[in-house]
Symmetry: C2
DNA sequence: CTGTATCCGCCGCGATACTG
DNA sequence: CAGTATCGCGGCGGATACAG
């Protein structure tokens, strides 16, 4: 698929597509959720990292960069030595978190249906 | 990260996590959206495929399998020769589509903020 | 503490060919 | 038309080492 051509079902839906992309990023939603509910919208890198056990440092930083670039969070350097950096939600980030929380709520409401199977996205060997 | 240990911030949040996984699957939401809004919740494979220009056949079928396994859709073989298969939303699928539509709406409402930047997930060489 | 750079295995995903 | 199998590449993401 060429970079010049559109990718799927027309351009008029590109904004919703961007919203889906935000959710597709593996850790974005969880980082935002943690930042919002655990740290009240503002936290230092290390603290955030410790709140997300399965997340490697590399992915944390990389995702934070993307989130910053997407306008979901802001990066504040509070001291240079020793380095102290805090990340906080932007207005867009706060609006997106609301959506993320809706997804979390949906998951909780449908936990019984979701627990019944193992979806195991991709590369499954058998439907068993 | 070991398979035996939990992966992030505890198990009590596994259902929300599953919900996020559903969104993380690249095409699931769009297929569901198309199936729901364009085909009224029920469509044949080829028709669905033609409604999603950027999606390869392989990914379509693979994603449909996963969605079926996740309980979002049902597969109906309506005739064997020539093969005619239809996919339709399950109750869970219908509930999930509602959520997907919320995300689409959110994207449309925030299209101005989303259009201002190119998030380009991963492997970016420069911040602008 | 915060962040970058490099190496590298794994697999997501498209292209192609084939079955019924 | 619906689906599977195989190959191949690009990049996701972990581990490690390094810098300020």
């Amino acid at each position: 698929m060429q970079p010049g051509s559109d990718d799927a079902e027309g351009r008029e839906d590109c904004a919703p597509r961007r919203a889906l992309e935000l959710f597709s990023a593996k850790w974005t939603s969880m980082i935002l959720h943690t930042l919002h509910t655990v740290h009240d919208g503002r936290a230092r890198t290390g603290v955030l990292h410790r709140s997300l056990p399965g997340l490697s440092k590399k992915m944390l930083v990389q995702t934070l960069r993307e989130m910053e670039h997407s306008g979901l969070i802001e990066r504040h350097v509070e001291s240079a030595v020793p380095p102290a950096v805090r990340y906080s939600l932007t207005p867009l980030g706060r609006r997106f978190v609301d959506l993320v929380e809706l997804v979390y709520d949906w998951g909780r409401r449908n936990s019984d249906a979701l627990d019944e199977l193992r979806p195991r996205a991709s590369s499954r060997r058998r439907a068993d």
